[in-house]
Amino acid sequence: MAGLKNNSKLKDDLIDKINNLTFLDKEQWKYTNFNYLSNFNFDKNISKNSLSIKKNDSIEVLSINDLNEDSEKNYLKFFNKIIPQENKFILYNTAYFHNGYFFNVNKNIDDAYALIESNITVNSKNNFSNDRIIFNFNKSSKTTILFNEKNTKQIKNNAVYELFLDNNSCVDFIIFSNQPSATKILNLSAKINKDAILNIYTINISGELIKNNYFINLDKQNSKCNFNGIDLLNKKNHIDNYIEVNHNNKNTFSNINYNNILDGYSKGIFYAKTVINENCSQSEALQSNKNMLLSKSSSIHSNPQLIINNDDVQCAHGSTTGEIDSDALFYMQSRGISENKAKKMLINSFLFKIINKMKDKKILSSINNEIDSWINNVD
């Protein structure tokens, strides 16, 4: 790709900007100590890093390195347009990304599907890989995207995804991650147009350090986002999620449902900020974060924020943190179910209601199997 990779002036500007930004420059970063990351390299390409992509004919996938003049022009309409710029990791990605893809989903189709798997081979413990993917969902398309991240190696990944949902499109965007030794930073931005629906499912099982930032923009009337997340953490896992939803038009809808289970010495951060702007009457924004702590040494920081600048809206937010419901446990034991089995069933039910609306039941079933095997290891 000629547009950015060979533009050394732009790269120099980015590097200047990076050097002037600290890791802790915004509230969304303050709950995780990123200072130690300054010892890592974001600018070294990992040669054997590749994404394996399986998809059907309803989606065209182009590698950034193979763009021709026309497709590059199209690509540049989307590249770096909606992702925030005051973020060091995004700037690193923009300056040094080497794994770039452009997904173009055809209009008026209802079966688009892509499975994306990462095959990072670690060539140095200190090097981050930088993935950059743009998704363009054309009008009236229905799509399921599944990221299936199951790498047991000590991978370091700094990814940026930019999603564009055109009118009346509907997307199930599923990120499944079970990478116990991963250090992963994801920045995802989405721009949602009229009558379009984005259903995000993010399922994180373990992870050494995971930092996810989501920036959802409900730009046109009747745009919707259902954000569903679960994290299953144990040992010294650390997951920090920041979810920002901007209601930028009338009749927009957002619903965040995020449940965490924490065991061992794990730490979770849930920070959601939904902003309803002045001109956005008749909008609805919901946030729910529920956390179950299975050990005394695990902890969660929960901060569900609503910023409402219009009187004619419906909003609700809530957060609960506690142990397994002892009344429910007693009820189940009084029905002859062992304490251990009852606990596992309660954990499963706590999670299942978050992801059971997933349209692809085969994916749901395979994710459930992974969840079950995590639960089976709970004492």
């Binding site: 007693f330 029905r335 002859g336």
Partner: protein
């Protein structure tokens, strides 16, 4: 079946039950009535095995075994069932999965063959009809979004599926409309036999009329102050508890 001897129960420093004696034999249905806060639910919780109470003395024997040494789960496996006054909602836990796990755990303990999925659905539908619930219950979460009446009928459905030996009905009639009460009472009568026993806790005579108990006991000020037959319940319905203090 169940024998309670000189039982004293407290919570923190407060005495909740004092010197309770009660014997329930096979095939009998006993009723406990009494004002709010006199320890009726505590008694059912002690029999089922809920934590949080101090046993100050006395014993509870079930089939001649010391019940107080058994876990809640073991009590259920041995045939004790309580219909809860306030059944807990468990969002996300499918009713069929819950019921089959419960029924099969108990059947396994009793050396009976566990139900296959198909067999269980057949039994489930049969019992569902008795309590007047429709088949959509199979897809719902346990007690989640159930009306008060549905919750109580769901408790009776579990009793019919589990087939316990000793049933504690903790205010199963509270909050039921006339039709639902009849359905619940029919469910209990349908299951009642000379091989099982019941302890009903209630405030109202209407369910007693349906169930024809063998004994009625009055629990007042942490003690059983009077025992009798169904006529005692009728007298309480007409005159309240005041006369018992004289």
């Amino acid at each position: 079946m169940l024998k309670i001897n000189k039982l004293n129960v407290g919570v923190d420093d407060k005495n909740i039950l004092n010197n309770i004696n009660l014997e329930i034999n096979k095939g009998e249905l006993h009723v406990i009535m009494g004002r709010n806060g006199t320890g009726k639910s505590t008694l059912s919780n002690i029999i089922t095995g809920k934590d949080g109470y101090n046993i100050g003395g006395g014993e509870v024997l079930y089939k001649n075994k010391n019940l107080l040494d058994m876990s809640t789960e073991d009590r259920a496996l041995e045939g004790i069932f309580m219909s809860f006054q306030y059944p807990v909602s468990i969002p996300g836990l499918n009713t069929m999965h819950f019921l089959r796990t419960s029924v099969n755990s108990i059947r396994k303990h009793q050396n009976k063959e566990e139900y296959s999925s198909g067999e269980f659905i057949k039994v489930f539908k049969e019992k569902l009809a008795i309590v007047g619930l429709d088949e959509s219950f199979a897809k719902r979460s346990v007690n989640d979004g159930f009306s008060g009446g549905e919750k109580k009928r769901f408790e009776i459905l579990q009793m019919l599926l589990i087939e316990p030996k000793l049933v504690i009905l903790d205010e199963t009639d509270s909050g039921l409309d006339i039709d639902a009460l009849r359905i619940v009472a029919n469910g209990i009568n349908n299951f009642k036999s000379k091989n099982n026993s019941f302890l009903l806790i209630t405030h109202y005579y209407r369910i007693i009329e349906y169930l024809n108990p063998d004994f009625v006991h009055v629990l007042l000020d942490v003690k059983i102050v009077k025992s009798g037959d169904q006529k005692l319940a009728l007298k309480l319905e007409e005159n309240g508890y005041g006369w018992l203090k004289k």
